[in-house]
Amino acid sequence: MILFMQQLVNGLSIGAVYALLAVGYALVYSVYNFTNWAFDAFMVVGAFAAYYCITLFGLPLPVAIGLAMLVTAGVAVSVEVGAYRPLRVRQAPRLFMMISAMGASMAIVNIVNLAFGGSFRKFPEISSASVELGGVYIGRMDLFAIVFSFVSLSALWLLLGKTRIGLGIRASAIDTVTAGLMGINNNSVAIIVFGVSGVLSAIAGVFFGAKYAVYPYLGLVTTKAMIASIIGGIGSLPGAVVGSLLLGVIETFVSAYISSVYRDLISFTILVLVLLFFPNGIMGAKTVDKL
């Protein structure tokens, strides 16, 4: 029972990282109907920025996370302006958007790789202490990841639901062209949406780096987030969160009770099964009216 609870908490903490990424995907998808394939690069930038803020400049963790968010949001917005906007304005086919995004991601990840080297870096120990809760030991960092992820997701929820900016984003999600005609500045919506998704991926990058290691190809984990958002129903924000937690927990249980070798295999099998039997995901019905 203790082992079960322990694994559940581990699963939720990695699920929370997936959730940040999956929500970032869902946000961009719901507004622009395309998957942001450069997301892995944003995550890598976030993780490296935080790592070097702490190791080189000795900044405390919250400041490092804040700076990483800023840097990543900047990269995300420049990718939007440089690689997506010219295509979006021209209403280019989705295939071209995908290629452009892949290109941006390839360039950024490999620049990071060449500039900083491909080695695995251990994220500086923030706190190894763990909290005991009814016999279950929870690492401080895990707890922090879970809490911080949910605080940021709730903040996003409030931003989308309660503010004028959120109203504009939601209007664009329903129909970008009509929203533009109604006086919403589509370019600022794009900058906000990409900025927010950059911030989310920076947080995810920091927590993922802290849990495992910081290396240029850590962005591969976004595949999992994409699988999670397909499980949840692509384009649906609540679906993305539920799918991510589910995937995180399933993966952790597979590693704990079967073998960690099969962890990634299981997630791929789940993807195939979901595509076969629930092509719209578990929250599929809700993806129709978006957000």
Binding site: G82, P93, I99, M102, S267, L271, L275
Partner: protein
């Protein structure tokens, strides 16, 4: 001589995969970011049936292709059945390639796992590689000119309109995927019998990116463009060794620049044409290798087949 031959052989192998990927991405508009996975399946399958079952080399090549083609249904059928967006398929191919790599890594007692599969005889030489590349070229050429190829182009341009005109979306996409996976499998087999050694790390993400780059730079809906680039991307790194590390950065930036300024690629929607003689020659080769099906319905003669 040996060095030049090896570049030529690797170039031919690359051409075979890229031809298949061009049918899938360039003509059907389906984006695969895990094509190295199919190469791995084909290479391993061919090597294993050769070593364990003593199947002759000439038969092992196509069987490797068939194995890769069949494995493509694992992702093709679920992803295409529900008329899902291309993004699902792309992520499924990436997942497939990773899954194949992980599975191969865990097979140490049977086929060497991460240490690699050894004991494959070196059978691929320049004449064989050239012959396969030529066959593959002619086959792809005749496919895209056939009715099936036209269905693929229709799906690329507008799925809904294609369906309205009676194109079976699921069948067309599965066929394009099968062909491209088959090509990748054959190429994987050629590669296995050339390197005389296989390891899962040969078929990583950067291999898939290289393949995709050839199709994107070569051009959409063109066979000859990707073929040229496929050869160049093998030969060029040999000449520009100092740029090798920056290769993927340059590819990435070029992807973006190309999509913004010249999205159709180098030779998009075009084929090399050296006049009527060239057209007759390629058509003759194409028709010897499988007659394009006559068009069904009241469409009249197909313009692409002279």
């Amino acid at each position: 001589m040996g060095y030049l031959t090896s570049i030529l052989i690797l170039g031919c192998i690359n051409i075979v995969v890229v031809l298949g990927l061009s049918v899938l991405t360039g003509y059907t508009g389906l984006f695969s970011i895990g094509h190295a996975g199919f190469m791995a399946v084909g290479g391993y399958a061919a090597a294993i049936i050769y070593i364990r079952l003593h199947v002759p080399f000439a038969l092992a090549l196509p069987l490797g292709g068939v194995a890769a083609g069949l494995s493509s249904y694992i992702i093709g059928y679920p992803a295409f059945r529900g008329k899902l967006r291309g993004d699902y398929f792309a992520i499924a191919t990436l997942g497939f390639a990773e899954a194949v790599r992980l599975l191969l890594n865990t097979t140490y007692p049977v086929i060497g796992g991460a240490y690699g599969l050894m004991g494959i005889p070196q059978k691929t030489n320049l004449p064989i590689a050239l012959a396969v590349a030529l066959l593959a070229f002619a086959g792809a050429q005749s496919f895209v000119r056939s009715q099936h190829g036209k269905n693929c182009v229709a799906v690329y341009d507008d799925e809904t309109a294609a369906q309205m005109m009676g194109v079976d979306l699921l069948r067309t996409k599965l066929m394009a995927l099968f062909i491209s996976a088959f090509y990748a499998g054959v190429a994987g087999a050629l590669y296995a019998f050339y390197m005389a050694y296989l390891s899962p790390s040969m078929f990583g993400i950067s291999k898939s990116s290289d393949l995709l780059a050839a199709v994107v730079f070569g051009g959409m809906q063109s066979i000859i463009g990707p073929v040229i680039i496929a050869f160049v991307t093998v030969a060029l790194p040999e000449l520009l060794r100092f740029l090798l590390a920056w290769r993927l950065v340059i590819y990435g930036l070029l992807f973006v620049v190309m999509m913004v300024f010249r999205p159709q690629g180098l030779l998009g929607y075009r084929e090399l044409d050296f006049g009527p003689g060239w057209r007759r020659a390629t058509a003759a080769v194409a028709s010897r290798l499988g007659k394009p099906r006559p068009p069904r319905g009241p469409q009249g003669p197909v313009e692409g087949t002279p």
